[in-house]
Symmetry: C3
Subunit: 266 residues, 3 copies
């Protein structure tokens, strides 16, 4: 039996039985499955947030890992469930666009519509496809079954356009705060790669970030380089530009919320 | 060695070391144990809430799973610890009534008082029987030991009467909101089964639910059938009638809290 | 392959992908690893709180368990990462003092500076040594590698002095509330052992605890011995003196916060 790890990203929180039931349904198919919680506190029905969590975590797992995303506002409707396979990972999620960033980042060799009902848990509750469809499919997949068992390839799956930073003609990179983490660090969608492409240079240049009413020009590589109470820019562990504050909370100190526009002057 | 999964339902939350210590005590007996968190955010010492979580999750696990419930307001007193066995599952919990719904739902062949002290972790802390009694017993049970090793059968275990919906002579089903989930869905104790027994018919009838100051007559099968901002009735994934709101929070919009009375006019 | 469990204590919370990425990095080295969450809600960068959680949980795990503590305010700076080995457990953490209590409690045979870069995940993010250094090292260690592979012994590791209770010349034990748990129990740093050494005797004496504006003289062994709404003293499951309240929250009722001074008059 092949050993494929199953990870979970959901908006179920930790106050209900939903995550437990989902794990039980996986283990009922494969009692040997290794299940890893990535995050269950995705804001309710927030596809962009779920995609961010996936984007920042999937690549740290062993090859063949099955990443399951259950953020599913239209569960029970005719929206499909899709399963992708590629060089490294499987992704299983509602066909609502939550996997869109993966199509750009990963070599995906097939996207299939999951419709092989004989693998479902019966009866299927219209309000919980995570438990009754995605969990058993993940369980069977973790036992080594080939993706071709679960449905035919499709090419009209939903693709969402996620907010991307871009180089503006005015000479700056226009971006956005896409996540505020539990330390108060404000993560933007400006990547280290885009910064380099735009000619940015932390060593020899003097980049300045404008956000809310602040202009920040202190660049570092790690949090404790900053002065206490002063904001600091750095490229974080997922290579996104972050606004941080050593021994402080940048979001509160600077009044920054997710969605805030930023301008990085190079 | 038999493979029996151990699940945990507690009111320990996630801010303390309690869940970790409990898992360590299980693994000290059986390092190969598969331990699954169902929920640790049961409101403190709330037996009804714990029983609800168990009721909605236990049946999705493989046969032979050991369900451990550590919600234990009188830990350290003379209250007993009980272990049930039946056709499908084991349940291990304080004898405080938290397992009562299981006796109605499951074929239970024995209920035993756990008193085989040689399986306990020593010394036993009077404030943490979960760690020092229930965890090691679950560990030994997960290794395949028979329940007869842990104590003798009893029949005077505590039975709590949980609030049940009932058909009222006035021509409606009288029930109650027994849970508000993290999406704001208000779960009542009116089951699909009771609704059918009472002659309810979503297709051909026109059922109306009265709750707080609202009367709701829109019935669906899944959340996204509702209009944004309007309440919707549906039978949820555990076959309880729920009050939901697509892209909204029914509890906040309608002012509904756990414990609220509901009347379903058929 | 040896079977060594890996436990995690972090201040990452549950809202981000950090814990998931860390687990992925462990599993990428050892897909068979058993990983146990002890606590991820340590207050941000709070070494004292992290040490308390470790102190109260590590000893319940099987021998050879690898305890990993990722509370790391100065990540990316020149602070070292240390790995200890002893008779029972491994501890892996930043060299910031968070392990100090372990050196007193456990027979530690070596403390090593982790610097064997060929075991690291590359590239190493300056902001996430948990994922890129500690996780892979824990993964390799869980596969049975000897600690000598990861670096040389050192003896100049950081030792923090944690607040200890002491017998005061005035005839009382002076201590402090070091933790308020999720039930509202206020845990002090007065141990059962210190109390006995100071001549305390619950059976025959009449100890009184002064805290905030209260004087508490009711001693018990478990929570439900207390009257509802009245405070109760007891030695808890980690042998620290606690202020509790049956069916109540002692911290709120008495206005006690972490850090509050207490005096136990024997």
């Amino acid at each position: 039996m092949a050993k494929r790890i199953v990870t979970l990203i959901t908006d179920f929180g930790h106050d209900d039985h939903y995550v437990g039931a989902l794990k039980g349904a996986i283990l009922s198919v494969n009692p040997e499955a290794t299940i890893v919680d990535i995050c269950h506190n995705v804001p309710a029905q927030d596809l962009v947030a779920a995609a961010y969590v996936l984007r920042c975590s999937y690549q740290y797992f062993p090859s063949q890992t099955i990443h399951v995303v259950v953020v599913d506002p239209t569960v029970g409707s005719s929206r499909r469930i899709i399963l992708t396979s590629g060089d490294h990972y499987y992704f299983l999620a509602p066909d609502n666009g939550v996997l869109s960033p993966m199509f750009a980042l990963e070599e995906v060799s097939s996207v299939r519509e999951v419709d092989a009902e004989h693998y479902y848990r019966k009866p299927v509750a219209a309000t919980f496809h995570g438990r009754d469809i995605m969990a058993p499919v993940a369980g069977w997949l973790s036992r080594g079954l080939d993706v071709s068992n679960f449905g035919e390839p499709i090419d009209d799956y939903v693709q969402l356009v996620f907010p991307m930073a871009r180089v503006d003609a005015g000479g700056f990179i226009a971006g956005r705060v896409i996540h505020v983490d539990s330390f108060g660090n404000c993560v933007t969608n400006i990547t280290r790669e885009l910064f380099a492409e735009a000619g940015g240079d932390v060593e020899n240049g003097h980049p300045i970030l404008r956000v809310a009413s602040s202009a920040i020009d202190v660049f570092g590589s790690h949090y404790s380089q900053g002065k206490e109470g002063s904001p600091l820019l750095l490229f974080g562990s997922s290579d996104f530009l972050e606004i941080a504050m050593y021994r402080g909370r940048a979001n509160q100190a600077l009044g920054i919320e997710r969605g805030a526009d930023v301008q990085l002057w190079i």
